[in-house]
């Protein structure tokens, strides 16, 4: 059955923060390639785009929290309200999209920044079939940043607002975290759809440890929570031990801090910051590295990058209990570490010393990604779920609907700000 699928997401390439947005774009494009009629409703992007924006991507939503030079903790409460609770203009744009496109199913992704609570409430009101792909703890963001009486306007005092949605989650870990932090469970169940890798752009891996040198790579936002400090500190330990190695770090973030840190520890000849690269270029680049470093924070729901590296036969060294770890076996597909400098340094030293069969581990990683975690398999799973969810729904001929949305939005503002 050919479906009309509306993708609703805060970010969409070229503006991305990580795997979540890439996964959304890949899914939308894959659904189009499978013959479905797809529309994307997302926010503006300030990133210069070389190619024409496809006419099925509608950048009509306002984004209420992404200002690159302003840390999130300085957000005004009013911005926060618009970001997680209600943005009337965005809710109306969704209403327009639903009215004009009449999707069989809405595929919602990260709704933080666009007033997601009011949007979910609208979909429930219209009884539109919808799915929610949890790649991060969006329900916690909403639960903890919206007062209870305001949540009540949108029937979100508990987990009611999610009850009609088909839930996908990148990991069990993420669902547990959401339950722990917000008491929101999903009694209807949740499909675990872990991250995936589209290996179409990858290259055959080059020989490991060429000339006796270990080449490490990392690709993520460059911040403490992603483990950049640990990578630099572990590199200092390796250097002190006389190990021959290099680390290339792809991505953007707090570069001034880390360039200084590298300089202070005399690691300029070891560590390079190479900026961000398109996803396909990264996959090609992984072929030249011996191991991928991912000492990310424990609550990282599902970093996609180590999976991509594994698919390119570059074994990841990753935090033992991050989301991606759920899908990989220690010492078979990857090396799992405690999130400490010492443990990371020990794993890197093992790799550099040739005590890890990188070729065998690389092949196992690729097999895992080509099998259980293949792009095709996940797309098939999501497509099946979309087919199951899709059912006819009626757009009421009700001219007062924008008024109801207006009343709810203004009540939310009034209860919060007086």
């Amino acid at each position: 059955m050919i479906l009309r699928i509306l993708f609703l997401t805060n970010l969409y390439p070229p503006l991305i923060l990580g795997g979540y947005e890439i996964a959304c774009a890949q899914t939308a494009e894959a659904m189009r390639n499978r013959g479905h009629e797809v529309q994307v409703l997302t926010t503006w992007s300030h990133i210069p785009q070389r190619e024409a924006i496809p006419d099925w991507v509608h950048r009509r939503l306002d984004l209420h929290w992404y200002i690159p030079h302003v840390p999130n903790h300085t957000l005004e409460v009013r911005d926060l309200h618009s970001a997680v609770c209600s943005s009337y203009a965005n809710t109306l744009h969704l209403l327009d999209a639903l009215s004009n496109f009449r999707p069989d199913v809405v595929s919602a992704w990260n709704l933080t920044g666009i007033g997601g609570l009011a949007m979910m409430d609208l979909m429930n009101y219209l009884e539109v079939p919808w799915t929610l792909y949890l790649g991060d703890r969006v329900p916690v963001d909403i639960a903890t940043n919206v007062p209870d009486d305001v949540k009540g306007i949108f029937n979100a005092r508990g987990g009611e607002v999610y009850e009609r949605a088909h839930i996908f989650s990148v990991s069990r870990n993420l669902l547990d975290e959401i339950e722990l932090m917000s008491n929101i469970t999903f009694p209807q169940g949740a499909d675990i759809v872990a991250g995936w890798v589209d290996l179409a752009q990858s290259l055959p891996h080059q020989p490991y440890l060429q000339n006796g040198k270990a080449r490490f790579v990392a690709a993520s936002a460059i911040y403490q929570h992603k483990g950049t400090d640990l990578i630099i500190e572990a590199s200092a330990q390796l250097q002190a031990s006389g190990v021959d190695f290099s680390v290339d770090i792809f991505g953007e973030g707090d570069l001034p801090r880390y360039i200084d840190m590298v300089k202070r520890l005399h690691l300029q000849d070891r560590i390079r910051f190479l900026g961000s690269r398109p996803y396909a270029d990264l996959l090609k680049a992984y072929a030249g590295y011996d191991a991928f470093l991912c000492p990310t924070w424990e609550r990282d729901p599902f970093p996609f990058a180590p999976l991509g590296a594994a698919g390119c036969c570059t074994p990841p060294i990753l935090t033992r209990n991050c989301g991606t770890s759920e899908r990989m076996v220690d010492r078979v597909h990857c090396i799992k570490i405690e999130r400490t400098t010492d443990d990371l340094a020990r794993a890197m030293a093992e790799v550099a010393a040739g005590r890890v069969d990188l070729e065998k581990m690389g092949r196992a990683g690729r097999r895992l990604v080509e099998g259980d975690l293949s792009f095709e398999r996940h797309i098939q799973k999501m497509e099946s779920a979309f087919q199951e969810c899709a059912r006819p729904w009626e757009m009421p001929d009700d001219p007062t609907l924008p008024l109801l949305l207006f009343l709810k939005h203004n009540l939310s503002v009034r209860l919060r700000f007086g």
Partner: protein
């Protein structure tokens, strides 16, 4: 209970006189409660509002509790409570009727046009409806009352009526215009003022004005005492004003004079001022007169003192009028009809949409 609460109590009683309805009252309070009153379950939901004030009270549990009802009548719809409840009830796709009982002038509901989310409006007077009518153009009904004509009855006690006894029943507040009654009261008439003090300096002013006149205050009176007083008095006066003795302008001075109706139900002829809805209550000079000024009231008091007005059957006319127009059953029938029409209209709209989709 104040007038707003009594109104809700009365109209639920009135609907009980008509078959085919199950009712429940939901309200907000400091704690959860459930009890019965006159056979009607009253569910008190714990206030969850972050805003102070009872008209700002709300409960998120309305989502769960209201599910399954065929119609919800939101009283005090021009308050934050009303706006919140309207949002919830409309989201549940339940036909919604609203009534303004004078608790607020919520701008989201008025200038924000939230009232247009209501499927119908019941106004407690033409005057009340005029205030709402410029914002709400949908189906509406003006229902003045009801009054429990069995409880407020001239035959319920064996009292001797004093035709020279004037009675005022109201909270002691400046906009009630009690000062105007005292000022116009001649030496040949006596005046009883029944009501709690809500404004101390106004009460002190009234006491001073009453010096040398035949005036008494009863500050605490239960319903039985009140009925007894109604039955011993000669004429009831409600002198509310849009501009009080201190020079303050009053918005919505009287949306409905419930005590006037109760007095009439007890067989009392009435004098009412021209404030708010009060003139709507006295449609026949045989049992009620309207005054527009101090001089008018002085003249009317003189007619009473001279035995010119009211006529011998004025009390019967008053009671008969209230029973036929404002009694529980009369109001119940009209209310039931309005509710049924509202639900039917919603069902028809739903069917029309379903048909247009299937075609």
């Amino acid at each position: 209970m104040g007038g707003g609460e009594r109104y809700v109590d009365y109209i639920t009683q009135s609907l009980q006189t008509v078959e085919g309805f199950d009712q429940a009252i939901f309200t907000i309070g400091p704690d959860d409660q459930l009890f019965l009153r006159n056979g009607i379950p009253i569910r008190v939901l714990k206030n969850e509002s972050s805003q102070p004030g009872m008209t700002n009270a709300l409960s998120t549990f309305l989502w769960r509790e209201l599910s399954g009802f065929d119609l919800v009548h939101i009283h005090q719809c021009l308050t934050l409570f009303g706006a919140y409840s309207t949002a919830v009830v409309r989201s549940l796709k339940i036909p919604t009727v609203g009534t303004d009982l004078g608790g607020g002038e919520d701008q989201q509901m008025l200038r924000g046009r939230g009232v247009e989310l209501l499927d119908g409006v019941v106004s407690i007077s033409q005057y009340a409806h005029n205030l709402l009518g410029s914002y709400f153009k949908g189906p509406h009904e003006i229902i003045i009352g009801p009054v429990d004509t069995d409880r407020f009855s001239s035959t319920s006690v064996n009292a001797i009526r004093n035709p020279r006894e004037i009675l005022c029943v109201s909270r002691i507040l400046p906009h009630k215009g009690i000062d105007r009654v005292i000022a116009a009261l001649p030496a040949s008439l006596s005046l009883t003022i029944v009501g709690r003090v809500y404004h101390q300096s106004y009460y002190e002013l009234l006491c001073k004005m009453a010096e040398g006149k035949n005036v008494r205050f009863i500050l605490e009176a239960n319903d039985d005492t009140l009925v007894d007083i109604y039955n011993r008095s000669g004429v009831f006066v409600q002198a509310s004003t849009a501009r009080d003795v201190f020079g303050n302008n009053i918005a919505k001075p009287e949306l409905m004079g419930l005590t006037t109706l109760e007095a009439m139900s007890c067989g009392l002829p009435v004098l009412v001022s021209d404030a708010g809805s009060l003139p709507e209550l006295v449609t026949d000079a045989r049992f009620g007169r309207v005054f527009f000024s101090h001089d008018d009231l002085v003249m009317l008091f003189q007619e009473i003192a001279d035995g010119v007005w009211p006529g011998p059957n004025a009390g019967e006319f008053a009671r008969s009028h209230v029973i036929s127009r404002h009694g529980l059953n009369a109001i119940g029938i009209r209310l039931a009809d309005f509710y049924k029409r509202t639900v039917a209209r919603q069902k028809k709209q739903g069917n029309d949409i379903a048909n247009s989709v299937s075609h």
